[in-house]
Amino acid sequence: MSAARRAVRAHGVVRMLGLARPRGGLFALGVLLGAVATASGVGLLALAAWLIATAATHPLVTALGVAVVLTRALGVTRGVARYLERLVTHDAALRTLADARDRVYARLAATEPMRRFRSGDLVSRLVSDTDATQDLLVRGLTPPLSALLVGGGVVALSTALLAEGGLLLAAGLVLAGVAVPLLAARAGRGPGRRATSARAELSTALVDALQGAPDLVAYGAMDRAVARVEAADADLTRTARRDARLLGLGAGATALLAGLTLWGSLLLGVAAVSDGRLGPIPLAVLVLTALAAFEIVAPLPAAAARLGAVRASGERLFAVLDTPPQVRPASDEPVPAGPADLRIRDLTARYDGPLVLDGLDLDVPAGAHVAVVGPSGAGKSTLAAVLFRFRDAEAGSVRLGGTELLDRSPDAVRAVVSGVPQDPHVFDSTVRENLRLARPGATDDELRAVLARVRLDLDLDDPVGIRGSRLSGGMRQRLALARALLTDPAVLVLDEPTAHLDPATRDAVLDDLLDAAAGRATVLITHDLAGLERMDHVYVVREGRVTEHGTPAELLADGGWVAGRPLSRSTADR
């Protein structure tokens, strides 16, 4: 790894810590409380050592009075300070998490359509990456700072008693608290990598054996699949058993350092007592402090072991936060409402690679229903993204009546162009809340009317479940259309509204969608030719441009892409 690259990777952690800066006061308080808690533990033993060593000299009882009170007090402060420290740091971390969520959400809203972040897996990872800031702050920020504070204090005390003793303790603490955790984390990386790749192999074999079970059983191949799982499991187990040797090193090294520091303290202390440089009472304090001091560094290995994961989370998080918006700033002036013709001319767009739209021309007269068909990857969804103003076009024009839509802000355009995006999201709430997204002031009567138009028999108070899980696929599409109709757009864009529906449902949904959209300019984007005979005009798009267009009858007759592909309709009962 190059130095520059390492600097960038360290950056992820540093920048994540930077998120905590506005909550600096709370974190400082947390560090202080943590230091008090740890110091109480170490101080209790040091003070008790002084108390006992002094008592052994049989002084007057009054000589012990302060120490006795302090010892008892320390017995209580440790628990109380630790409890408060945990509450304060968790509160600060949760507040920081809220700030981070705000920033992620705001940035995502500006980088729509979030093509890269669309898949459910990536989104949930992004959300857990955001949550990782909390983990970093609670486990990674305050414990090292508290340890630094208390460690410094303890070393200072020991140095005051005996210089070489303090030096020894400092060396032991630094080695056990910084060097060993970092080295152990580094030593763990190799085993981690090997385990990940062995686990991936096992996971694939398992997926094949479990998900493919019907195929395997039908073809009598299950024994071979289980043998493959067994081999992958044996490999993973062998790797893990071999690497166990490396992973135990951290625990061993910490124990060794603690033991040797104690030994060194005894050696130096006894020598100093013999020389007369150290009294018997300070000797007891010095030795018992060295014995208790390693409690200070105990939480650090866990913090170091997390650094790698936190860094990876930070990199993914900041990749999102650093993504520039997909749409250039444009005029917020409203687009005149009311029916108008939509004219698309020479539209060109690309993601990082080659052109996805390459000079596309398309007309949607006011009130007409137009289908855009073609194989997957032809650029159909990019057209929808441009029409929704999810992204800018590279060149070309999209005019609605006399207005150039590409010169208007996304929100201005979405007031007149709306519809159903691919995989419309249904929020985990009620039918009413899902509908009112589109028109917050709508009355229940208006909502019921729009449900009737899309032939959806649902109560407004019905909960829809996570991602609409309580609705069927067809019902989700109908609900999404109802939402779009509520905005009363001049142009309705439907992006693959019947994907993932079975044929009978598909035909019923499409018929009802088109009925509900009667009289409204509608662009139906689909890879499926079912129902095309109901459209006024059909455009075939291949490789980013229109290859043929005409009425459905013309296209069926001319022997092009549409002809020869049956407009098969399910005649199964609906």
């Binding site: 008790a48 120490a67 008892r72 017995g75 959400y105 019907p214 061993g252 050696l267 032939r455």
Partner: protein, 558 residues
């Protein structure tokens, strides 16, 4: 949740070995802790009494030896624990895999099982390497320390003996009091946590309706509520740690003051006092550690319990005959099939003849039992009542494996394996020669697909055949069926389930052509929604319509 599940001991022999090793290491470690405390108190007391470095050299050297031994033991115990953990995980995993793959395929969430068998079981590492050894220490060390303190100074021993049992007692009391409350709050937390994911996933939809900015305020509000609820939970959850910490530290403070005074009045010597002072915190330390590690390790226990639950779920058994596979007309006599947990039978008293050498097209809406019919012919499902005969022989008398060797099945959503294309086609016939594979691929309209792959038949298709499109995967499944048909000892029964559902027009056309070839002259059943298939099949094809027993409303999912 029990700290040590007896089923874990029974199931994984590695756990028993591990417990023995952990107990041995724990005993040795306890001895070393006591020895170190004795050595340190001796050195300090003797040095205070005027002894020099030469006199104490041997004792101090022993401290170094103890340090090295403790380090070695810490390292060895951890490494051994991780090794045992790997072994035990492997034993549990393979038991799980053998159990769930045995018998007929069952409906279950494969993704969840895969996660359980990999990441889920990995949580046992913490349980084995961190929790169990600490549990052993938490039992041994306090008892040993208490015994030593009792020998040295009985008053301190009383203080420790009274406070030690208070810790588990108070933790249990606090735990009982807070359990219900925290459970309720975690449920609320999960809901609030889910809200952010929901909003981020739905951002395109929100943007489209110009609600993205308004929703930002709501995100803030919900996150703030989330924080308040979390803090409410934590205030209570941290209480048990608070009790533990206060009791442990306060006890040490009390012991320190008590021995200080006894020392002052000359009822105790310095060495004993130091020994008690050093040992007192050691009695509480393992208890604190075991408490801190409890939660992390419980994930592993939960995973193990999920494995045991899965192991308890037994597969339905088949009446297994031993006869050879018969041939001839297939007849269903009054066949009824019930799926567990459903009231309505999937097939109700069905009589059907599937004439040998001809195709039967089975149509009907979803839920009519089309797939169940294919399932009983594949012997994935056993009829509750009724009989199936082949050429007059009862199917139940036939050996299941031999029967399946005479069926060629193309499922609706075939599973392709992370293997080469040739390996995937050879699924049922691993020893088929390459020419036969090529022939089958040609018949299944796969030639253009093969030509497009970088290494032809030797190309690995990736997990679930990710390299290929749905239509191409369907054609690979057809090639499997062609190969099986060619290798079958008797004329095979061809079974197809919705061969063209969800395919784009180009792929659907290719699949239709291949299906036409596959069923020609063979006994075949095609189950489909789409009655248009009737036009594609030979004139002598039989048409059967299955109706769903109950009325079906619109907008139902497939």
């Amino acid at each position: 949740m029990k700290p040590l599940d007896p089923r874990l001991l029974r199931t994984a022999s590695a756990v028993r070995t591990h417990l023995l090793v952990a107990t041995g290491c724990g005993a040795a470690l306890t001895g070393l802790i006591l020895l170190q405390a004795w050595l340190v108190s001796r050195v300090v007391a003797r040095a205070t009494g005027g002894a020099g470095l030469e006199e104490l050299a041997l004792v101090i050297a022993t401290v170094a030896a103890v340090a090295v031994a403790r380090a070695g033991l810490a390292y060895g115990a951890e490494a051994a624990a991780l090794r045992s953990a790997a072994k035990a995980k492997s034993q549990l995993r393979m038991r799980l895999v053998r159990h769930v793959t045995a018998g007929v395929p069952r409906d279950r969430d494969a993704g969840e099982l895969v996660t359980l068998a990999t990441r889920g079981l990995d949580a046992l590492d913490d349980y084995f390497a961190r929790y169990l050894p600490q549990l052993v220490l938490a039992v041994m060390v306090p008892v040993a320390v208490l015994a030593v303190i009792a020998g040295a100074d009985w008053v301190s021993a009383v203080v420790v003996a009274v406070t030690l049992p208070l810790i588990p007692l108070f933790m249990a009391l606090v735990g009982m009091h807070t359990q219900a409350r925290t459970n309720r709050q975690w449920a609320l937390l999960n809901r609030l946590g889910g809200h952010f994911l929901d909003v981020v996933e739905g951002l395109p939809t929100l943007a489209l309706f110009r609600r993205a900015k308004a929703e930002a305020a709501l995100v803030r509000e919900v996150t703030d509520r989330h924080r308040e609820a979390t803090m409410g939970t934590l205030r209570v959850a941290f209480l048990s740690a608070f009790v533990l910490e206060v009791l442990a530290t306060l006890a040490v403070a009390l012991v320190a003051v008590e021995i200080g005074f006894r020392l002052l009045y000359g009822r105790l010597d310095l060495e004993t006092a130091l020994l008690v002072l050093i040992l007192a915190p050691e009695a509480y330390l393992p208890l604190r550690e075991v408490g801190a590690r409890f939660h992390a390790s419980m994930e592993g226990i939960a995973a193990a319990q999920q494995v045991f639950t899965a192991l308890d779920d037994r597969a339905a058994s088949l009446t297994a005959g031993t006869g050879t596979a018969p041939a001839g007309d297939l007849r269903l006599h009054g066949v009824t099939v019930r799926h567990p947990g459903r009231e309505r039978p999937a097939l109700d008293d069905l009589d059907l003849i599937l004439p040998a050498g001809r195709t039967t097209l089975v149509t009907g809406p979803s839920g009519a039992g089309k797939s169940t019919l294919l399932g009983i012919l594949l012997r994935f499902v056993e009829p509750a009542t009724g009989r199936i005969t082949v050429g007059g022989h009862d199917l139940a008398d036939t050996d299941v494996d031999r029967w399946r060797r005479t069926t060629a099945w193309v499922p609706q959503d075939p599973h392709l394996f992370d293997d080469t294309l040739a390996g995937n086609i050879r699924l049922g016939e691993p020893d088929a020669p390459m020419e036969a594979v090529r022939r089958a691929a040609g018949l299944a309209e796969l030639d253009d697909v093969v030509a497009g792959l970088p290494e032809g038949y030797a190309t690995r298709l990736g997990e679930r055949g990710a390299r290929l499109s749905a239509g191409q995967r369907q054609r690979v499944a057809l090639a499997r069926a062609f190969l099986r048909a060619e290798c079958s000892p008797v004329p095979p029964l061809v079974l197809l389930d919705e061969p063209t559902a969800h395919l784009d027009p180009d792929n659907a056309a290719a699949v239709r052509r291949a299906v036409g070839r596959l069923v020609e002259g063979r006994t075949a059943v095609i189950a489909t929604h789409d009655p248009a298939w009737a036009d594609e099949l030979p004139a002598d094809a039989e048409l059967v319509r299955l109706d769903a027993p109950a009325p079906v409303s619109g907008g139902r999912e497939r």
